[in-house]
Subunit: 248 residues, 2 copies
DNA sequence: GCAAAAGTGTTAACATTACACCCATGC
DNA sequence: GCATGGGTGTAATGTTAACACTTTTGC
């Protein structure tokens, strides 16, 4: 049983050879950026949700399939950002360990020991919408970006690279739109930009600039994100598709 | 003889399977952006300089090796920009044509008919420094970006995508530094940005902004780029490594 | 003399930054 | 009453865009 599940649905014959996909899935919850990681019971390492590309799939389709499996969501915002191709990126011993403990029948998993290049994707999902399935042999969990566990292969580097690239492209990446729930406060939106930029932003200037773009609509109901003060709730104006913020 | 050269030095056994590299090499000459293309005598199609990745190479190393072969240059400015992975990106008939006309002995080139994903690289070289080698069976030439011939596979799309990505990243891509010769006029530098942006820029505002960064040093000798008027020559200040232009 | 390329300077509009005061709530 | 989060406004500064006049040279 477990021997089949470890690589399911992949075999040496149905995947594009030597090629994998790894996804850095971000969400935002309680003022913290979170990253989705999973761990198989046979490994001490946590890893990015990833997998292989079928022979008739594009890499975008492979990444979407993999993430739909793990999160239950479809139409996830998903962009490729870098191909990791260093021949030494994965230590073969780590994968031998997998195979040994994975109880693969003899030769069936040998293809797993070859060299793989991996295409990195970043994805944004709304924390509340994700339903993580728990299986004892394959656990998926959110981790605070500032407190990551020890990671498999070069996955720490993949996460670090995704952050650098998102930061550099912040003006044209709709992080707030994709990460915030339907209704949110201005503080929550500001916090997202602060996290990606790695610095604090002036509360008043941020609000003025965002509101001046007209991308938000103010809701009537008061929010309760603050224990002290009711705050104004906003939503994105669905008619506006130009969510660029040239000022970052 | 020719049967060996067509794929040299690649065989099914020494390359990373199902993976290729294609390079969009830009230069700037006589106020025009140029792209390097090559054509084998057995094909009517022109194509991007490309090739495969050896089993012990990274994709960066593969791209650098391929371009050094074609241009005689080393240390070429080279960045990966997108992985093209649509399963239908290359029409198999085009590759069968290659094999047939390529006089490959029987099965030796069969691996060439499998599906390939291709990692796109963009590169910038100085036109004057490139020495194109001419072989009758394998011609390499510069083409004006606005007058490209019919291209192999999805190479037209690869070029178009490279332009879009460079345009979006212009503030942080050192196009002028990599494309201009040692000495150049302000008009030449401006023209480069105009070409990538697809619009004309105010001559005086451009000059003021560029000079205010301090990235250029003015030379004593007068240039002769204009048939009418002597113009000031500039060089990049070699001490300055921060060639970002946040104002584009 | 005219057209084309190049050199130089000013001003108005706009965007950005820095900063201050008030209110509501929980403890 | 005080610490915390949140709402609102203004003034100084910096940046950008629009624009005019002059020079040189080839024809």
């Amino acid at each position: 049983m477990t021997s089949i599940n470890l690589f399911h649905p992949y075999t040496a014959d149905n995947i594009h050879p030597g090629f994998s996909v790894d996804c850095v899935v971000f969400s935002f919850y309680k003022k913290k950026l979170r990253v989705l990681l999973n761990q198989f019971d046979i490994s001490k390492y946590w890893q990015l949700p990833g997998g292989f590309m079928m022979k008739n799939e594009s890499s975008d389709e492979a990444a979407a399939r993999i993430l739909t499996n793990r999160t239950g969501l479809s139409n996830i915002y998903l962009k490729q950002f870098y191909l990791f191709s260093n021949p030494q990126r994965t230590k073969i011993e780590q994968n031998v360990e997998y195979l040994d403990k994975g109880r693969e029948p003899d030769d069936a998993g040998k293809w797993f020991l070859q060299r793989f290049v991996s295409l990195g994707y970043y994805a944004f999902v709304k924390y509340e919408e994700v339903n993580l399935s728990f299986v004892k042999e394959d656990v998926t969990k959110w981790f605070d970006i500032d407190h990551l566990p020890e990671l498999y292969s070069d996955h720490e580097n993949i996460i670090k690279t995704s952050l650098e690239i998102i930061r550099a492209m912040l003006p044209v990446v709709p992080v707030a739109y994709e990460l915030l729930p339907e209704k949110f406060t201005m503080s929550e939106m500001r916090k997202i930009y602060e996290v990606f930029l790695g610095k604090t932003l002036d509360r008043r200037n941020f609000q003025r600039k965002i509101l001046s773009t007209g991308m938000l609509v103010q809701l009537d109901e008061p929010g309760n994100s603050s224990p002290y003060n009711p705050s104004v709730l906003y939503s994105f104006d669905k008619d506006r598709k130009d969510l660029v913020m040239p000022f970052f």
